[in-house]
């Protein structure tokens, strides 16, 4: 992929994103001229950059969108849900096509039809407004007739008059207005005049364009539009039919002059005339087909594929049907164009390019810091060479050892810092994911007939790319739940003394060395009594156990797998669909999730996540003949206890630690090793967190404590539960780093370790 395209894709996505946000904001305050302006500019820029490449349907669609928004900006088109929805659909298409272009360098096959349908809808929006379109043939504006008057020989051919008033700053945008005029085929006259009275000599700025360019051409309107496609907002085009098609047409209503060239009109009118004359039955079929073909070709040449299709279809209805169809197209070309296609937006089956490589934008300061660190590293490495020379010269071992240790410490410090700053490249703000919620929330709320106000805070909080990018789905789950189950409908809310519109707040923030992302609603909250009942019904807890849990622990049960099913729990529970999926996702990212709720006041779900995929501190332990790593985060404490303090309790072993009974599990048994005879008198125990409980993990040896970059489990290892990742040991062995919580907690009953006898 070339740089230009890459840059284009990055920019396109940003523009789509910002325009989407603006459109949603616009829906909330339809009168805001600033926002309309911003949306218009976004579409204008999008169109401009798409125009650099060869994607005609895309460009045509963005053109149509720009026209629509331009009318909205001028106040001639109402900014309503129809326009906003249409613009959002356009952005959707744009985003999809950007993905398609990235993966396959081409638009999806269905893009042309889709673009046509969407563009048609813009046109029909525009044709609905009361103002007559600029293309209306009569009366000719003064500038056009003046220009026509300057012609010595006013030909028989229809002409197109163009007035092009370049923006004052167009030179800075790289425009060469006359350069565009040069490209217009069939020029008949050109006039260039100052757009406004010239400033004084001293104040004349050669780089401010102050020109009013008018021209006459016998080229079709479509050709003219092509030449000026990138500056359409600065151009007025007027058809100047030499032979008035109206007279040929007779009965057909041409009050609204069609937006295509008069040649096309003439062709269509001719077909109407031919069809109206009755012929004998034999020749009629052929003539009918020829007429339909001619009309369709003419329409296609004018870029009206939809109408062309319509003619072809009307052929089946005989001469009368075809004639009516053509007349209808002539009468209201823009409405007709959309009617045929609006209903059938094609399904897009092309791959969405989920895994497509994305460009990473990095703050230059971070790169500078990295470069200077690497400089230091090189210096430290040189010191090693010096040390080697000293060793060769026969310096004594003790001095050398000290010097080597020093160099090692130095390089160690540098590599840690290097890692940290390289990791910071991957940091991105949460706003990247937060901003994507405006639409789903709006749609979910709309679907349920609720009013929802979405608050977003702390979007500047940064986290690793891997975390931020994986955050959307679980968060979406939580947010949907909040809209669906958390918030009451407006009536219920008002009866409860709350404002009719529910409030959902997505907030990001720092939490020691991690981040917290919370989703709060001011809805009905979760009723612990209901959860208790349901947990018992689902067989997750016995009635006694459920009764023994405190309310917080009960609410936490919504994350238990199997707590909720597809069946509707919404009415009573407040929430609960698939919250276990959220917990799994959070844990996969090395985080956890918690919930807090007050009946009648609302619920807050918090995702606690690591900020970076940092160097993990790992404790290396031995179990039987093997070595495993356990992430230090998971370890609460390390204790050595005489074996006599461990007792067989129920199905397993337990000991008392600081007044609490803690289950004791042998690591060897957890990883499925054969039981070896116990020789030591003391047991080495790692107390780890497993869910809310503490569990003591008995190991045979403590071997080392290392800092390591954990590789996420993948391949064969990826399918094994309880593996947090792998890393390399200093001697080259691969260390499996275990995740005790998931080993112990994966299946609370079945996966309990086998009983051990002591």
């Amino acid at each position: 992929m070339n740089d230009l395209l890459e840059q284009f894709l990055v920019e396109t996505r940003e523009l789509v994103q910002s325009a989407t946000e603006d459109l949603l904001a616009l829906e909330a305050s339809p009168g805001d001229a600033d926002i309309v302006n911003r949306v218009f500019r976004a579409f204008h820029t999008l169109k401009g950059s798409v125009g650099l490449f060869d994607y005609p349907p895309w460009l045509a669609l963005l053109h149509a969108a720009e026209d629509g928004l331009s009318a909205a900006r001028a106040g001639t088109l109402a900014v309503d849900a129809t326009l906003v929805d249409l613009a959002l659909e356009t952005l959707d298409a744009t985003a999809r096509w950007a993905d398609a272009v990235e993966t396959s360098d081409a638009l999806p096959g269905a893009a042309a039809t889709e673009a046509d349908a969407l563009a048609g809808r813009y046109r029909s929006l525009l044709s609905r407004r009361p103002e007559t379109p600029a293309s209306d043939a009569a009366p000719l504006p003064e500038w056009a007739s003046r220009l026509a008057g300057s012609l010595i020989d006013l030909g028989e051919k229809p002409m197109t008059a163009v007035r092009y008033r370049p923006h004052g700053d167009c030179f800075f945008a790289g425009d060469d207005p006359l350069g565009l005029v040069r490209k217009v085929p069939g020029l008949l006259a050109v006039s260039v005049e100052p757009g406004a009275p010239w400033p004084l000599d001293e104040e004349f700025d050669a780089y401010i364009c102050n020109l009013d360019i008018t021209l006459l051409t016998d080229a079709s309107r479509a050709e003219v539009d092509t030449a000026f496609r990138l500056v359409r907002d600065q151009v007025t085009t007027v058809d100047m039919p030499a032979v008035d098609a109206r007279t040929v047409l007779g009965g057909a209503n041409l009050a609204n002059a069609p937006a295509f060239g008069s040649v096309v009109v003439a062709i269509l009118a001719e077909q109407v005339r031919v069809l109206a004359t009755a012929g004998d039955a034999d020749t009629d079929a052929g003539r009918l087909e020829a007429c339909a073909q001619a009309a369709a070709n003419a329409l296609r040449s004018a870029g009206r594929a939809g109408d062309a299709e319509r003619c072809a279809l009307a052929l089946e209805n005989g001469a009368g049907g075809l004639r009516e169809a053509i007349k209808a197209i002539l009468a209201s070309p823009s409405t007709a164009a959309s009617a045929t296609n609006a209903g059938e937006v094609p399904e897009v089956s092309e791959p969405a390019g989920v895994d497509a490589a994305r460009t990473l934008r990095v703050d230059a300061g971070r790169v500078d810091a990295l470069v200077s660190l690497i400089g230091e590293l090189i210096v430290s490495r040189n010191a090693l060479g010096h040390l080697a020379m000293r060793a060769e010269a026969g310096e004594d071992a003790a001095t050398l050892a000290r010097a080597i240790r020093e160099a090692d410490a130095n390089i160690g410090r540098l590599s840690t810092t290097l890692h940290r700053s390289a990791v910071s490249f991957r940091l991105m703000p949460l706003s990247q994911v937060f901003r994507r919620f405006a639409r789903p929330v709006r749609e979910a709320a709309r679907g349920l007939g609720k009013e929802v106000i979405l608050d977003i805070a702390g979007e500047d909080t940064e986290a690793d790319r891997g975390i931020v990018e994986n955050l959307f789905e679980p968060l979406l789950h939580v947010v949907r739940n909040a809209v669906d189950h958390g918030l009451e409908d407006a009536g219920t809310r008002r009866r409860g003394g709350k404002p009719g519109a529910g409030r959902i707040r997505i907030e990001g923030g720092q939490d020691s060395d991690g981040i917290v992302v919370s989703v709060s609603d001011d809805g009905r909250g979760i009723d612990p009594a209901f959860i208790r009942r349901r947990a018992v019904e689902r067989g997750l807890r016995s009635p006694e156990a459920a009764a023994a849990l405190d309310d917080a622990a009960v609410i936490d049960l919504i994350f238990a797998p199997g707590f909720s099913t597809a069946e509707s729990v919404g009415a009573l529970s407040g929430r609960g669909v698939g919250m276990d999926a959220v917990r799994v996702a959070a844990e996969r990212m090395g985080g956890r999730v918690s919930v807090e709720s007050r009946v009648g006041l609302g619920t807050t779900v918090r995702l606690h996540l690591p900020r970076t995929i940092a160097l993990a501190r790992v404790m290396v332990v031995g179990a039987g003949g093997e070595t495993y790593g356990i992430a230090m985060d998971a370890i609460v404490e390390v204790v050595r206890r005489p074996r006599t303090g461990i007792h067989a309790v129920g199905g397993g072993n337990a000991m008392v630690l600081r007044g609490r009974t803690v289950p004791v599990v042998r690591l060897g048994a957890l990883v499925g090793q054969k039981r070896l005879p116990i020789v030591d008198l003391d047991a080495l125990l790692l107390v780890v967190r497993a869910g809310a409980e503490a569990v003591a993990l008995e190991v045979d040896r403590f071997e080392d404590r290392i800092e390591a970059v954990l590789r996420p489990p993948s391949g064969l290892v990826g399918t094994v539960p309880g593996v947090a990742g792998t890393t390399l040991l200093g001697d080259g062995r691969v260390l499996l780093v275990l995740d005790p919580a998931s080993m112990l907690g994966a299946e609370p009953t079945a996966a309990r370790p086998p009983r051990e006898e002591r």
Partner: protein
């Protein structure tokens, strides 16, 4: 490519436009004309003129020498030549 130049420093020496005159030439041309309002502009060697350059001529109306080398200007815009 080719910029606006002045062959010598004498009063009234022509300002020459040569080859393709891009947008950057507009300011140079404007300042040269304003420096010496008697200097004519020789545009015979100019093969293509940017709008901004043309605008300078349109605004400041120097006298021009010969026929412009840019056929588009000759065909459509030459009437604006000698002011």
């Amino acid at each position: 490519m080719a910029v606006v130049r002045r062959t010598d420093t004498g009063q009234g020496a022509p300002i020459c436009l040569e080859g393709v005159c891009p947008v950057e030439d507009a300011e140079t041309l404007a300042s040269l004309i304003l420096e010496d309002r008697t200097a004519p502009v020789d545009w015979t060697a100019c093969t293509r003129m940017h709008t901004a350059v043309y605008q300078v001529l349109l605004r400041l109306r120097p006298s021009v020498l010969g026929t412009c080398g840019d056929p588009f200007v000759v065909r459509w815009l030459a009437r604006l030549g000698p002011g």
